[in-house]
Structure formats: C-alpha cells, structure tokens
Amino acid sequence: MTTRKLTCIGCPMGCQLEVGIDGDQVVSVSGHTCPRGEAYARKEVTNPTRIVTSTVRVYGSKSGAVTVSCKTRSDIPKSSIFDCIKDITGLAVPAPVHIGDVVKANVAGTGVDMVATKEVL
C-alpha cells in the first residue's frame, strides 16, 4: 500500500489529505473535515482531470485580434495537459470565430474538443 498527500481545493481551509492506495483502489482517506474533501481525494488519486485553457492564432480578424482563447470542452486527464498544448501549437484559425466553435477536434486524442471561448470577428 502507498500513501499520497494532497491539498484539498474545496475551500480556503486547504486540508492536508492523506490517501491510502492499494493498486488502483483507494483504501483510506484521512485529514479531510468534510465529505467534499474525501470525494476530491478519491478523484484526484484515481482519475485526476483538468480543463486546459490556452490560445490559438487567428487570422483575418476585422477587430485586429491576433489570438482567440480556447479551452477543452470538458476535463481531460491531467497527464495530457502538455499534449493538448503541443497539439494546438502552430494552429491558426480564420476569423470569424464564435464561442463554442471547435478549433481542434479530439485534441491530443483525448476525445475532447478544444473550443473557442471568445467571439472574434
């Protein structure tokens, strides 16, 4: 059995959590003061995920914008963060771009699309 230490992000308390892991099973969580802490700990050690935000180049914008901000439409595995960024490196999309437009489908093979988060005309 191994243990992992985490800081809970649920509130400013920042409880120091200790998670006991056996194989891929969470066997114990301690240090939390509320149920949210335990849930966070279980997720964070078994399947940590993040939303990734970045920008891609945009060309032909009437407003003169040179970038458009984007995000993964939903969480992707934490281990794929840099792969997502690498996958949109060099990417340039034509204006206009609308919020929710896919700028890169299935980014880094995560099954999640990278979508625009800003209106660029």
């Binding site: 920008t55 840099f82 960024i85 690498k86 949109i88 490196t89 060099g90």
Partner: protein, 478 residues
C-alpha cells in the same frame, strides 16, 4: 573630418552642442547609449540651484549662478518645463545657525539675488508641513525645478535642427592625437575631429587620463531617490534642503514640475560606473532622513524609486576647458551637482572657447527656438476638439495615469532625434511615469513603436541594447 566631436549626450554635451550650433562648424555628438539623457542627466534631483551653496570663487559657484540666471529665458526659447519655485535650506537647531549664516554670506558673495534668512514663523507660513523642530531657513527665491529630460532633449533637438549630428550606440574606445586634431576610435570605426569635447560624465576621467598626465579620478556617488504620487502634489511648494553636511546636500524634499514629490538623494560612493541599482539600505536611509525637515511626509505614496550616479571628482570642482598638453581636447569633467543648474552656462562657455580656438563664424541659419511636444492638457476644449478632428490620435489615451495620448507618443517618435524605446517615449511624454508605472500602457506603447519604426514588436526595447521586452512568441519552446 569634423570640427568638433562631443563625447556624451547628457545635459552637458547637449548644452555644448546647442550653443555650438550658433556657429558654422561641423559638430558630431557621440553617445554610447541609444538616446540622449541616459546617464547622470536622467536620474537626479531635477533642481535648478540658486547658487548659494558652491564655495565662493569656484568655477562651480560661477557656473551655477550664471546657469541659474539663464534658465527662465532658455525654458521659454526651448519650451521645456521649468518653475522658479524657490528653495529653502532648513536649519534644524539653534547651534547650526552660524552655518546657515555662512551659507547666506557665501550666496551673497556668489551674487545670488534675493537671499534672506527667515524665522520659524515665516517658514511655517510658507511651508505648513515643515517640521516643528525647524528654527529658521535660508530662502532663495531664484531656486527652481526643471524636467531634466525635457531640458536635455530640448537642447539636443535644437542642436540637431541647427545642424549638429548625433551618433547613438557609439562608444568611444580610445583617443589618439593626429597632426591637426584627434582620432576618436569607436565601436563603429574611427572619427576624426579637430577638437574633442569630453562630456562623458562618469567616464570623463577615462578620456581625460588618456590625453593628460595630470590625472583625475571620478567616483560614482550614488544617490537613491523616491518619487511620490501626484496626489502628494502641494505637500511642499518649495524645494526643501537640509543644511548641507559632509556628503552632499543631505536629503531634499521637493515638488517636481509635473506635480509629484521627490525625496532624495543619498550619497554613497561606489566603484561601478553603471551601478544604478538601489539598495534596501539606501532606501531605508532615505526614508529615515526625509522625515527630518518635514512632518507627515506621505512616503507610502511612493510610485517608484531609482538611483542616479553623480560624477564626483576628487577635488570637488568642475574641470572645464582645454587641457594644456592636449591641444584641441576640452574637458567638461567632474560635473556633479550643481551640474544640471550649470549646464546652460557650461554649454555657452565651452562653445565660446571652441569658437575662439577654431575661429568659428556665426551660423546665419541658426534658430534658437524649439517647440516641445504639444501637450493637449494645456489646450482649451475647443482647441483640443479641433486638434482631434485634424489628428484623431490625440483623442486616444494610451497612458491613463498621466493622460498621455497616442498623438503625443507619435510626436515623440517622429520628431528630430525621436524616441526609439519605451524609456525614450517615457522621458519625452511621461507615458508610463505615473502611478501604475507603465503596467497598462507599455504593451500599447510597444505596439505604436513597432508600427512607427517598422519593426516587429519583439524588437522593441526598454532602453536599447539588450533590454528587449519580449523574448518570443507563445508555444515556440515547448
């Protein structure tokens, strides 16, 4: 071959250049930095001293008083910010009264007009925030404050439009005599000149010592300063000095021509001629000392601190004139305080020496007038509306803190010897000099500079050389 090469585009070099441009001569100013006003001239107290302080009989005293008298007319001619706000030297205890009296007498001997010793009551009336411990003060109504960038840039621009050449990023490496003059070796090749003016500031000893057996030694004397927010404007109306001690003039508290309050300088002798870093000890000393002459100094309103280096020569005297064993080599060395106040006088004096040396004739095309960057804040609403209609860039504010428009920034870049860097724009327009210290405006100013200079934004520097503000684009080094 030039008639005259001036080493250094600080206030002294630019003053010499400007007064030389009254004559028919080929003149070139060489400057190692990318712009004028990059050394001692840019970081000092910004004071036009009355001239009571320098010991009677010295060149310092003579140049100070003469320079002081030249300021009002020069500010008019060259359109730079100058205010004859008057200065007060505050005496903090009864035992020091003889020193104050001696200062008064020295000033009278120097020919300073209007000096008066005033009592506590009058002092308090003039400066309500003066320390209750102050017992008396020397009142010098001819003291003033000036924008040192404004002065130096005005002198340089006027010299330039009257035919003086400027070479920037040009560092003088060595001076060798030739038959009828000098060979000036620089990082961009050799330049020949009949005469050389050594206005190299902190480096003036280096060049002097190359041509003279009578060695001089210039020590960089660092002065730390704090500049307070414009909301402190009016905290003092006059320049408040402490009675001078052994190291310089102590810490002064003064309004600036732009309505800030300046506090400084310390006086710390160092080795490094580029050592313009502030230190915690220096700033702490400053804050401690500044509270002596005034009470309730709003020191928490500091918006920036900086350090400048005075070119202190061992003999504490200006060294001005032709070096006897090096004909055609003219020193302007050891120009420490009151160097800024003396600059016009030094410029005039040295220009006249060169006129006599080379037999220069008057320049019939000389125009001593120069118009500064248009300040829309000084226009009426009707005038400003008309201006914006003609040039819409004046309607776009770039620097929020100091209300500087794109029009002013464009003027700063496009005018003779225009700005090439963020600091160049700042010194000419005040964009970035306010309370946010360029947080908001620097990306916008960089954009304008890039567009006007036809370079990529990543080429824009803070102050030339390797001071690039951007190192590349996102994601290029993953």
């Amino acid at each position: 071959m030039y008639d005259i090469v001036i080493i250094g585009a600080g206030v002294t070099g630019c003053a010499v250049a400007r007064y030389l441009s009254r004559y028919q001569a080929s003149v070139c100013v060489v400057e190692k930095e990318e712009d004028v006003c990059c050394g001692t001239s840019k970081a000092n107290s910004a004071i036009v001293h009355g001239g009571f302080d320098a010991a009677h009989g010295t060149l310092m005293a003579k140049m100070n008083v003469m320079g002081n008298l030249m300021f009002p007319a020069l500010a008019e001619e060259l359109d730079f910010e100058f205010q004859p706000n008057g200065s007060l030297v505050v005496c903090m205890n009864q035992e020091d009264m003889p020193k104050l009296q001696a200062l008064y007498e020295n000033g009278v001997k120097n020919g300073v007009k209007g000096l008066e010793i005033i009592d506590q009551a009058r002092l308090r009336e003039m400066e309500p925030n003066i320390s209750p411990d102050a017992v008396a003060a020397l009142w010098a109504p001819t003291g003033g404050i000036v924008c040192p960038f404004g002065l130096t840039i005005a002198l340089a621009e006027n010299a330039y439009t009257n035919g003086v050449e400027f070479r920037f990023n040009t560092e003088v490496k060595a001076l060798t005599p030739r038959e009828d003059g000098w060979i000036i070796q620089t990082n961009h090749g050799a330049i020949d000149a009949k005469c050389v003016v050594n206005a190299a500031g902190l480096y003036a000893d280096v060049f002097h010592n190359q041509v003279s057996q009578k060695k001089i030694h210039i020590t960089p004397r660092r002065g730390d300063y704090c500049l307070l927010d414009r909301t402190t404007g009016g905290f003092v109306k006059h320049t408040i000095f402490q009675l001078p001690g052994k190291l310089g003039k102590g810490v002064l508290v003064s309004p600036t021509v732009h309505g800030n309050t300046i506090v400084g300088p310390t006086a710390i002798d160092i080795e490094d001629k580029d050592g313009i870093n502030t230190t915690a000890a220096g700033l702490n000393e400053l804050i401690e000392k500044a509270g002596t002459t005034v009470s309730g100094l709003p020191i928490r309103q500091v918006i920036t601190s900086f350090a400048g280096l005075r070119a202190h020569e061992a003999a504490h005297e200006f060294i001005i004139g032709e070096v006897p064993e090096a004909p055609g080599f003219f020193d302007c060395a050891g120009i420490e305080s009151p160097g800024l106040s003396s600059a016009p006088a030094i410029g005039l004096t040295v220009a006249d020496m060169l006129r006599d040396k080379l037999g220069l004739a008057e320049n019939p095309n000389y125009d001593g007038k120069r118009k500064g960057i248009l300040d829309p804040k000084k226009l009426s609403k009707e005038e400003l509306t008309a201006l914006i209609r003609e040039e819409p860039a004046y309607g776009r504010i770039i620097c929020r803190c100091e209300s500087v428009s794109e029009g002013e920034i464009l003027d700063a870049i496009r005018r003779p010897l225009g700005a090439k860097s963020l600091d160049g724009v700042k010194r000419r327009t005040r964009a970035g000099m306010g309370r946010c210290q360029s947080g908001f405006c620097s990306p916008r100013t960089m954009e304008i500079l890039a567009r006007e200079l036809h370079v990529d934004q990543s080429e824009i520097t803070k102050m030339g050389g390797n001071s690039k503000l951007i190192v590349g684009t996102v994601k290029e080094r993953l």
